[in-house]
C-alpha cells in the first residue's frame, strides 16, 4: 500500500497535454486495468501541503463514496516530494478511451440521432446535478473532459481540478479554451455553479452542429460572438463591477436559435436558451434542466427507432 505510484502504475502513453499538465495513460500492475494519471505539482512551504489542496482532494475522495455513474472514478491519490518547495500530487482516475470530442467527430454523416443526443444530455446533467448538490463546480467543462464509454455512458472528468490547479496556473503557459466560458467569467465578474450550465449549453448545441457554437479568439471576441446569438442583455443584467462596459457592444437583438442550431427540436431549443441565459441567476439549474419537457418528450425516441 505504501509503495509509490511509479511502481504500481506503469506508464503506457502520453494522452493529451491537459490544460494543467501532461496526462498519462498507465497500467495498474495490480489489477491490469488502464488508468489515467494526472499529476499536479504544488508548492509546499514550511507548513507542508497547502490547505486548499488537502481540502479539494479530500472532497474528490468524498464524492467517490457516492459512486455516481456519470462521474469518472478516482481510484487512488498519492503525494510524493520532489524538492523542499514542491510536492507532486498524483490523481489516479479510471481510464476511458473516448471523449465527447472524438465521439462527435466519429459520428457518421448526419450526426448523432436526436434521441441519442437527449440521452447524452440527460447523463451529462445528472453528473452535473450531483456535483453541484455537493458544492463542487467543474469550471472547465468542454467536450474533451466529458468521457463516453463504449457502452455510451457519460462520465465527467477533471471536475474540481480547476481549484486544485488554479493557484499554480500562472506557472504553466497554457492556452485554456475560451469557447465554453460564460459571460460572467469572460467579464471577470463573480461566478458559481451556473458557469457549468453555460458550458453544457454550448456543448448541447455542439452535439447538433458537430462544431463549436462560439469560437472566440479573445475574451472580447468570445463575448461578441455570444451576444450575436443571444442578443445584448438589458443594462441591469450587465454586471456592475467589471472593466468591460456594455457600451463596447452593438445593440444586437437575439436571432432565432434555430439559425445557429438548425437540427434542434422546439423543446430542445427552449432548454438551450435557458442554459444560454446571460444572467447567471436566471440561468436554469442542472436539476431543473432535468425536469425540462425536452426530456419528457417521447416522440424523438419513437422517431429514431422507426
Amino acid at each position: 500500500m505504501a509503495h509509490g505510484t511509479s511502481i504500481q502504475y506503469e506508464r503506457v502513453a502520453e494522452i493529451g497535454g491537459g490544460a494543467y499538465g501532461t496526462v498519462y495513460k498507465a497500467r495498474d500492475t495490480e489489477s491490469g486495468r488502464f488508468v489515467a494519471l494526472k499529476s499536479v505539482r504544488v508548492q509546499t512551504d514550511q507548513n507542508g501541503l497547502p490547505v486548499s489542496t488537502v481540502r479539494e482532494v479530500a472532497l474528490l475522495k468524498r464524492l467517490e463514496q457516492f459512486d455516481h455513474p456519470n462521474v469518472v472514478r478516482l481510484m487512488d491519490v498519492c503525494a510524493t516530494q520532489r524538492s523542499d518547495q514542491e510536492t507532486k500530487v498524483t490523481l489516479v482516475f479510471e481510464h476511458v478511451d473516448q471523449d465527447l470530442k472524438t465521439y462527435l467527430e466519429k459520428a457518421p454523416a448526419p450526426g448523432l440521432p436526436p434521441g441519442h443526443i437527449r440521452d447524452l444530455m440527460r447523463q451529462l446533467l445528472c453528473g452535473l446535478a450531483f456535483l453541484h448538490s455537493n458544492r463542487v463546480m467543474h469550471r472547465d467543462l468542454k467536450p474533451e473532459n466529458i468521457l463516453v464509454t463504449s457502452q455510451g455512458q457519460v462520465k465527467l472528468a477533471d471536475f474540481g481540478l480547476a481549484r486544485i490547479y488554479s493557484c499554480h496556473m500562472a506557472l504553466t503557459p497554457v492556452v485554456v479554451t475560451l469557447w465554453y466560458r460564460p459571460p460572467e467569467v469572460l467579464l471577470q465578474s463573480s461566478y458559481a455553479t451556473p458557469v457549468d450550465i453555460w458550458s453544457t449549453g454550448c456543448i448541447f448545441a455542439e452535439m447538433f452542429r458537430r462544431k463549436p457554437l462560439f469560437c472566440g479568439e479573445s475574451e472580447v471576441d468570445q463575448l461578441g460572438k455570444i451576444l450575436e446569438v443571444i442578443g445584448l442583455p438589458p443594462e441591469e443584467e450587465w454586471p456592475t463591477d467589471v472593466s468591460l462596459s456594455r457600451k463596447n457592444f452593438p445593440p444586437l437583438l437575439p436571432g432565432p436559435i434555430t439559425d445557429f442550431v438548425p437540427e434542434i427540436n422546439e423543446k430542445g431549443a427552449q432548454l438551450l436558451l435557458k442554459m444560454l441565459t446571460f444572467d447567471p441567476i436566471k440561468r436554469i439549474s442542472a436539476l431543473n434542466a432535468l425536469e425540462h419537457p425536452y426530456f419528457k418528450d417521447e416522440e424523438i425516441l419513437t422517431q429514431t427507432k422507426s
Binding site: 500500500m1 505504501a2 509546499t44 514550511q46 507548513n47 507542508g48 501541503l49 490547505v51 488537502v54 481540502r55 482532494v57 479530500a58 474528490l60 475522495k61 468524498r62 463514496q65 487512488d76 491519490v77 498519492c78 503525494a79 510524493t80 516530494q81 510536492t87 448538490s133
Partner: protein
Amino acid sequence: MARTGFCDPKPLLDLHNKVSICSEGLNPALIWIFSQDNAKFTREVFSLSEGPTFHNKTSKRQVENNLLAYSHASLSSFPLCVADGCMEKPVLLHPPGLQGLHSLQVLMPSLLRHEVEMALEKLDLIWDRAYAWDMFLDMMRTQMQNSFPNTDLPQDFTDATRAVLVNWLIQVHVSAETLYLAIHLLNRSLCQIKVYTANLQLLGMVCLFLAAKKEECLLPEVSGLCYLMDHTYTKHQLLRMERKVLCGLKFDLSYCPPLHFLIVFASVARCSAKVVWMARYLLELSLLEGQCVVFQPVQLAGAALCLARQVLEELGGPEGEAAWCLASSLHVGSETVLLRIMHILANAAANAHTRETCATFIKFSSPETMHVSRHPGLKNASGLVGICT
C-alpha cells in the same frame, strides 16, 4: 526515545491555566489553539442554552398537537412507542445496514424530520433548510463508514499506549471537531500505515495537523507543533509523516463526528445545557477507550446523551419525555449496543479522576463546562445503566 514526548508533562497539562498564560503571548501556536477552542465552545454552549427559549416559542398546545400528529403518523410504524407517550425501548429503528437509509426516510415521521431540520439550522450546521434533510441523510451515510470492524491495534501497541497518545492530543486540543477528526484519522492511520512506536507521537500530531487543515480557519505553524512535541522530531520529519499519512489514507478525510449527532439529538430532545455538557464529557471519554472504535458515531452520541440524562436525573417531565422519545428514534442501532456503550462510558467516568489519562476529566471540571466531570452521580453511573431507560 519513544516515551520522551508524551510522558513529559511539559506540554500543557492544566488546560485552563494555560489559557491565561497564552493570552500573555507566550507561544503563538498555543494562542491559536486556545482562542479557537474557546470561541467554538462559547458558540456551541450559547446556541444550546437557547433550548428553553426555543421551547417557549412553541406553545404547549402546539407541542401537544404536534405530538398527537406524530403519534398518528407513526402508529402504524411504531406501535410500541406511542401508547403512553413514551416507549418501552429507546431504539425504534433497526435498519439493517446501509439500506436502512431509504427506509429511514420513509419511516421518519414528518415531525421528526422537521425537528431535525430545525436543529441543524439552529446549530448553524446548514445554510439553507432546503438542504437540511439531504445533509442529515448524508451525515448518517458518512458516519456508517466511520466505525472499525475490530479493536485490533498494530503490534507493540496497546490500549494503554493509545490512551496516552489520545490523552496528549486532548491536551494539545484544538476545536472539538478537529479533535474528533484527528482521533479518527489516528485510528485509521494505525490500521493503514506502518509506524514505529517511536514515531507514535509524531503520527498523532500529524493527524491533528491534517484535521486542522480540514476544519480550521487558522493553521498552527509547524514550528509550533514541533515545540509542543518538545522538539523530539524535526519539521522535516513532520512533513514527511504528513505525506505518508495522506497517501496511506488516500486523502480521504471525510468524517462525521459523534459530536454533531449529539448536538442534533440534544436539540431535538430539548436537553438542558448541563445535560449537553455531561454528554459531551462522556462522549469525549469514549475517545480514550480503544474498545469504542467499533461503534458508529451516531451510537456513541446516543449512548452519551442517554447516560447523561440518567446521571443528572433530568428527564424533563412528560414533555421532556416526549421530546426524548422523538430524539431517541434517531439512534440507529440496537438497544444492546446502546447499553454496551453506556456501560463502557459509565465505567470510564467513574474512574476518570484516578487515571493517568485524565485530560478530559480536568477539561470538563471547569466552571465553563459546569463542573460536569465532578458530578457525584458519576461515581455509581454504572449502576444506573442496568435500569431500563
